[in-house]
């Protein structure tokens, strides 16, 4: 939810549809590398990770690369506590929720 605001405020561009796995459309530096790396970590794709690491270190530097590792890892936790407790979205994000869902491909699952 903070992506749109952070991109707009820094003068860059980024299409939220890129989060669903389509080719990234935008101007954020190294956006394709970042999207690929996040997917590689979530899917535990060892070969892809091994191929991406030297590129990420070259692009972001060791500290930037390790910060990227930290963010992806952090959202392995944030997502789980949100989804397992069923807390509703923060009120300030509700207005954007349907739009973001549609653009990112995140669907609601409710088997009740």
């Amino acid at each position: 939810m903070m992506l749109r605001a952070s991109v707009q405020d820094t003068g860059a561009e980024f299409e939220l549809t890129s989060l669903s796995g389509d080719d990234a459309k935008g101007t954020v530096p190294h956006q394709n590398l970042l999207l690929d790396f996040a997917e590689t970590v979530v899917l535990r794709d060892r070969d892809s990770a091994a191929a991406l690491r030297p590129k990420l270190i070259e692009a972001l530097g060791p500290a930037g690369y390790l910060d990227a590792c930290a963010v992806v890892a952090g959202f392995h936790g944030f997502t789980r506590i949100a989804d397992a407790s069923g807390v509703p979205l923060d009120e300030r994000y509700l207005g954007d929720a349907e739009d973001v869902k549609a653009q990112t491909g995140v669907r609601e699952y409710d088997p009740r």
Partner: protein, 255 residues
Amino acid sequence: MPDMPSMESLLGVETVDDLRGLARDDLLDAHARAWDWIAGPGTWLTGAERLAVVREVRQAAECDFCRARKDALSPLAVEGEHDHLGELDDAWVEAIHRVATDSGRLSASWVDGLIADGLSDGAYIEIVGLTAMTKMMDAFAWAADVEPPPLPQPRDGAASGYRPPGAKKSDAWVAVVKLEDVSETDGPLYGATAGGVHQALSLVPDSKRAFWALGEPHYIPMDEIRNTDTRVRAISRAQIEILAGRTSALHQCMY
């Protein structure tokens, strides 16, 4: 595929501890504190039980039943039994494995079922926090291509059994403590933000505090959350949010 360089050859590191000097100290210190916290007695679980939860979280990645459910259109359409370590009750194993492997398709009725099977809501939330912290620290080690530290030894002691007097069930699947219901006995519960995901673990205040003490160094400090141009990390806020957004989307999560 040709041999790819390992992190040992790229950065000369093999373990999380070797990252000192390369990664932020606050991040590595948070990992060390989290493992130490997990090894001690909790609110509803003992130290030994909490480390058994960690082992079960890792075992879930090897569970064929979880894999079949994850691949199914609906997880409820698949019947079977978890490949588990035999240390914990069935309801605990179900909670750990589902939260670890398919958290984007959980439901209120599933949580109600666990509680009907004898898992208390407090124990459930403590298990959720432990599962999320384990996934976070293991994902960092995997992403950085280093070995996580060996698990600590459990510390003796009884679980406190503390339940916040202001906890209520309202719009979440479990009881939470809203900002206006925080009691002095809960200890510090909220800082710059008190909505949404920050309420998720509030039924177990110690778990809530420990989770966010680990989580903030992975993302950004909460007092910087509204600063869309923050420079507190070695990558930009927009780059952080691209990583966060893609990771959340793959977990089928709006956060």
